[in-house]
Symmetry: C2
DNA sequence: ATGAAAGCGCTAACAG
DNA sequence: CTGTTAGCGCTTTCAT
């Protein structure tokens, strides 16, 4: 890793370019004084002095809620001077006093899983619009436990938390609920109902996918799900059985496999397991795009084609699945909107502590592409 | 958008599931007292009282740098009580005093561009390991200008900034340098050298890609680059011309196109433009995977096959480009490591203000896949 | 309507 | 070594 890093301590590249030419490692042109100083930000006291009033008066003006306590004229003066001085309130200082930091923590399990960036983006955008900032932590990429991350965030007086990491039984979530921290789960949720959450309507998604396969003529449909410790894994599994039953399909338990992780290898392995049963099936409904990709691999390994021999459906509609070979039929989840709504729910909890906790389910949309077709028998 | 959101105010789904059964919108089971209180965190004063010493003594013990000022025995007592009380230092309060918040801002242009998540992840992980937290802002998804974002972060006393948004001429970067904020650019850089940066070695990348095409037998190679306002667009363009010249290829300026954006449509349009010249070429070297994907589209539209008719190379090695049709030959950039090193450089600047600014270039690696082959003429 | 004073939690300069 | 005092920037009683 470090081997492939190079610090150019002198220009050693032969071809030099117009402007980036001498891209060498070197100190910046030092300013006259040596190290340069940070321009001191003006504070409430500076403004007060300039206007000739007491700092608390300035504070009152700067806070919309207390502005009315100060006379129109003075307020205008203060505002003008404040602008002139480029004054910006220090939210840390005011937060110290008010216990409100306009900061929320977002914890996700893995930012490189394409599901999460749009959620984070949607949430961050929404928070920003209300003057909040987001502290981001990727719990999967570090030593420290999720509990420690939250402890750290709490120590920083975050106003609330958005968690995309929930297990179905989750002591961390329980602890947050217990302590009464404003909290919203997103993407995944827990078994209990005493916590706000924004998730996808998984039952509907499974229903749509299965209906699609049945409409194509499939009758023997296998299922590859995910870890039962997550709500997505659990709910989709049960939804599949439910939907199959309602559709009059006979369910062969051997054709139902829950992979140990939402990953490509796990998906491939699960499909191998299905093949090992020697039970016939013409389609595989998977609970996740990566599992579906794993199926692509296993099919290829078995010399089978998709969709001619076996149809495959995914779940999530990750970016670029439309460019795969074959393009993947899957369920589109409005991930950005998931993030937006999670942020909304959280802000509501923060600014309006009394309101009842809500759980939202957003509707997925079936996207039919090239990985599903009529089963081989029918033409 | 909102249409596809539904709040289940009563259970209206027919099939109910084992445990998530009654996933309805409802208030949480209220705790006895009505709204629950936050458990008050204990502070330095609480600890001091319990031990029977002055708060400042506790402070000294809790700070590793000043621990030695206090007697062993007392220190141990204090530490024990602190642990007992579950004490955690409030970094905001101490930051108010010390002007050090252990917070850094990370600004990226678009989190849904697969290039950035691994960078953020690498940086965040590295910062976390040193006790820092990351404030994340996605400058592309919001109204507020990047300048305002930075203003906001500075108001919160961030210790430094990581920017992935730099233009080649960037007033925002200039302003940061001017004010002396610890700053590291990542992925893209500016023309000047007075700012720390961690970027990919673009010249090398282009060189590798072109050498690969030449080795395959290509002699007429077209180039599709990106916006010249970014260092990546600019450097890769010039590197291509340089490499081509050094390889003895004759450069036809008409076969060099810089797309207006690093996007698929822009790539498709650029290739159309190349076709419009009616000049012959057997391969297209692009400066970005998305541009390469655009080429796939344009080729298909023109009834041409890749790589049989035209070879295509990308740049970045985004996730899943190995699953495209055809799998994309491209340059792998160690994005995670880019983030890690950016964080390292920043921490160095923060904790060691004197050290000279460094610029690092990490080496890309050519990944040969299915989108390149010998030109049609040769067999 | 405004000023004075106290304090959020913590640290740092100064005593002793 | 430890306690005292003051203050980071801001808000919020309490006076006036």
């Amino acid at each position: 890793m470090l081997l492939q890093m190079l610090v150019l301590t002198h220009c050693n590249r032969l071809h030099t370019l117009p402007s980036e030419a001498a891209f060498c490692n070197r100190a910046a042109a030092d300013p006259p004084g040596g190290s340069r100083l940070l321009k001191a930000r003006s504070n409430i006291k500076d403004v007060a002095r300039r206007v000739g009033v007491h700092p608390s008066t300035v504070s009152r003006v700067l806070n919309p809620a207390t502005r009315s306590m100060v006379s129109e004229a003075l307020a205008k003066d203060i505002l003008r001077i404040a602008a002139e001085l480029g004054y910006r309130r220090n939210p840390l200082a005011s937060g110290l006093r008010t216990r409100k930091t306009f900061t929320v923590g977002i914890i996700i399990p893995d930012l490189t899983n394409p599901v999460f960036p749009p959620i984070v983006r949607g949430a961050e955008r929404t928070l920003d619009a209300q003057g909040y900032i987001a502290i981001l932590a990727d719990s999967g990429s570090r030593e420290r436990s999720e509990g420690e991350i939250i402890e750290n965030m709490r120590a920083r007086d975050v106003d609330g938390l958005i968690l995309a990491t929930a297990k179905r039984r989750d002591p961390v979530v329980d602890a947050c609920v217990e302590e009464g921290i404003p909290l919203v789960l997103v993407n995944r949720t827990v078994s209990q109902h005493n916590v706000a959450a924004v998730i996808n309507d998984d039952e509907l998604g499974i229903e749509l996918a299965l209906a699609h396969l049945i409409a194509l003529g499939h009758r023997e449909v296998a299922y590859i799900g995910g870890p039962q410790s997550t709500s997505t894994g659990y709910v989709r599994y049960h939804a599949f059985m439910q939907s199959a039953k309602q559709s009059g399909l006979t369910i062969d338990q051997q054709l139902l496999v829950n992979a140990t992780a939402f990953t490509e290898p796990a998906g491939a392995q699960a499909l191998d397991q299905l093949f090992a049963t020697r039970k016939p099936f013409t389609a595989v409904l998977t609970a996740n795009d990566l599992l579906a990709l794993g199926c692509y691999d296993a099919l290829k390994a078995h010399g089978l084609r998709c969709p001619e021999d076996i149809s495959v459906t995914g779940f999530n509609d990750m970016p670029f699945v439309d460019r795969f070979d074959p393009p993947l039929t899957t369920l589109h989840i409005p991930h950005d909107e998931l993030g937006v709504q999670a942020a909304r729910l959280l802000l509501e909890q923060i600014e309006n502590p009394g309101t009842p906790l809500k759980q939202l389910r957003l509707e997925p949309r079936l996207i039919v592409r090239g990985s599903t077709s009529r089963p081989a028998g029918l033409t």
